[in-house]
Symmetry: C2
Subunit: 349 residues, 2 copies
């Protein structure tokens, strides 16, 4: 069975029912979270050099001179997800059965194997390697934008089992979806209201206010700034926002990739030292596909401003959050930002 997208008719939330994914290998979890094994070392890893034949056929790679596809010698490698949440096909139709709405699980699901080095994660790479990984994101996002079924493209990275990684080898994932997530629509609505009222981009204005207030600012360079959001859900949550307005990651410029790799490395290094190298999710927010979004929002390019979120896993989602969709955060973003700026010596509490 391929996967199926299903809409919860009460909450309006879509889910992907992907039974194939229960067969994927798992470095960490045989069953329940508290019976978790430590990450395998010395065990078999399908993402390590030498095991290229164990993944689906390579889509894209950054390779040294003279290194052939499907062999070792790569620096970054992109393959289809072997256990995809969504699979390539014709744009799916919405179907109905009684009160229930669903569609075929059409889309795309790629894995970016970010480094040959199993043990070192993003914050520990040289900035030059990080820039090559970010360029790979950009190339794949550009390529997936041409898929007819893709209405929204979600790029994310899970680091550590508590952040949902099933394999310990550093990797990111890109899912092209046949629907625009409600959550992204809500962000567009906020931006639209703000733009109608002020003529400004809500994100550009946020950058100005955060830089002026300074209390939540963590880092800044010529192209990007990093701050702890005013309404952070989690301790040490960070948003990385480009200073130059642009709706999608795919249009990022070369000189911006250099600035982003510098600031992303610095942010992850600060997080590692502030919170004892926590598991985290790195999450891209961007405009829906240009062709899709401009039908509904002709001004989408002026409205949306892409950004990255770093979401450290230091708390658990609990009943309050599931019931309300709201979060209780025991660390104020002002304290978190000071600690991230000033290091473990900062007067934290």
């Amino acid at each position: 069975m391929t996967s199926q997208l299903r809409k919860d008719h009460i909450s309006g939330r879509w889910v992907i029912i992907a039974a194939e994914r229960s067969k994927r290998p798992d470095d960490f979890r045989p069953g329940r979270p508290d019976e978790r094994k430590p990450p395998r070392s010395g065990g078999f890893c399908p993402f390590c050099p030498g095991n290229e034949a164990k993944t689906p056929a390579e889509i894209y790679a950054v390779r040294g001179a003279g290194s052939a596809p499907a062999t070792s010698g790569w620096k970054v490698r992109v393959v289809p997800n072997k256990f995809p949440a969504l699979s390539r096909g014709e744009p799916p139709l919405r179907e109905r059965q009684g009160i229930f709405e669903f569609m075929e699980g059409v889309g795309d699901h790629e894995v970016v194997i970010e480094t040959p080095d199993h043990d070192r994660d993003m914050g520990d790479w040289p900035a030059s390697h990080l820039a090559e990984v970010l360029d790979t994101y950009r190339q794949r996002l550009r390529a997936l934008e041409s898929e007819p079924a893709a209405k929204y493209i979600q790029l994310f990275k899970n680091k550590g089992p508590e952040a949902g990684a099933s394999l310990g080898h550093p990797h990111a994932q890109i899912v092209a979806m046949p629907i625009i997530p409600r959550q992204i629509k809500e962000e567009i609505y906020s931006a639209e209201r703000f733009h109608a009222r002020t003529g400004e981009c809500i994100f550009c204005r946020t950058i100005l206010e955060e830089r002026a207030a300074a209390a939540r600012l963590v880092l800044a360079n010529g192209q990007f700034c990093v701050f702890a959001p005013f309404a952070s859900r989690f301790p040490f949550e960070m948003r990385i926002v480009p200073l130059r307005h642009g709706p999608a990651f795919s249009a990022v410029r070369d000189e911006e990739l250099a600035g982003l790799s510098e600031i992303l490395k610095a942010a992850l290094t600060r997080l590692k030292s502030a919170a004892a190298d926590p598991p985290y999710n790195l999450v891209l927010h961007q405009s829906p596909q240009p062709g899709q979004a401009s039908k509904t929002w002709p001004q989408i390019d002026a409205l949306f401003h892409w950004y990255l979120e770093i979401l450290p896993v230091l708390t658990h989602v609990a009943g309050f959050e599931w019931g309300t969709g709201y979060y209780i955060n025991p660390v104020s973003p002002e304290d978190a930002a000071r600690f991230l700026r000033e290091g473990p010596g900062a007067n934290f509490l």
Copy 2:
């Protein structure tokens, strides 16, 4: 500092910044999730009999004859949360600072200490004790409904550290909030659209369709049914829905409490055996406060139909979910329901 409610101006999501809560005791986590200690046994537990003086003053209790307040001899005990997310006060005003919106953290936060027995959780109690706990929920929900700042009341229970419990002793929590969560509004909007189209309650209709289809039905008795939702986010997710239409838990009848305790105990017992006693969240969904909701939705009593969710923690929330608000579920609800109905012998995959 008391807590503060803050709105994320991009996503529209509110969070509670509650720095006091970082000081609460924690049976499980000294810092990061993967350095988690096993639950303390033999250590100090403020919820165990004999330690009544270590909690804030008792609000309500179910006690045997001759047992005095603030002493042992109770069966169920309700106290204010010592580290509250929200605290009692005048209904707060929405304040603004530049683009940011916030309000004082006013509301209420109670803890229901559900049993004197530190080690046995809800599924293992006699149904008669479970009925007393459910009656306690009902009494406290009724009492909190009269608080002027309360617009929505969220009852939930976190079992196990992965489900967000900080203490191992069985307990539930009730948070009275000064805003109606967006997520509850979305449920009302769905119910409103369905009611306008059909004249029916969307939940009553769901019960009919799930009972007719039977594929996702787990349990049913004269007052309640339990099914795996069509668009389940998580493996073995269940909804427990009363057959009799009613907007809020506080109006549940005595004979329904008996039916609910029977079916809730059965559902938790099935879950324990199907998924190796997983951590879980139990989450109430109900109508906003009658006085609040009827201003906006005059028909709210016909629209909303309270229900409970059991959300087992068998997967981790990962980057895809944080980016899109949508979920990838590796177990179909039809498989989950069959397994929960038929037990570990069922042909699962």
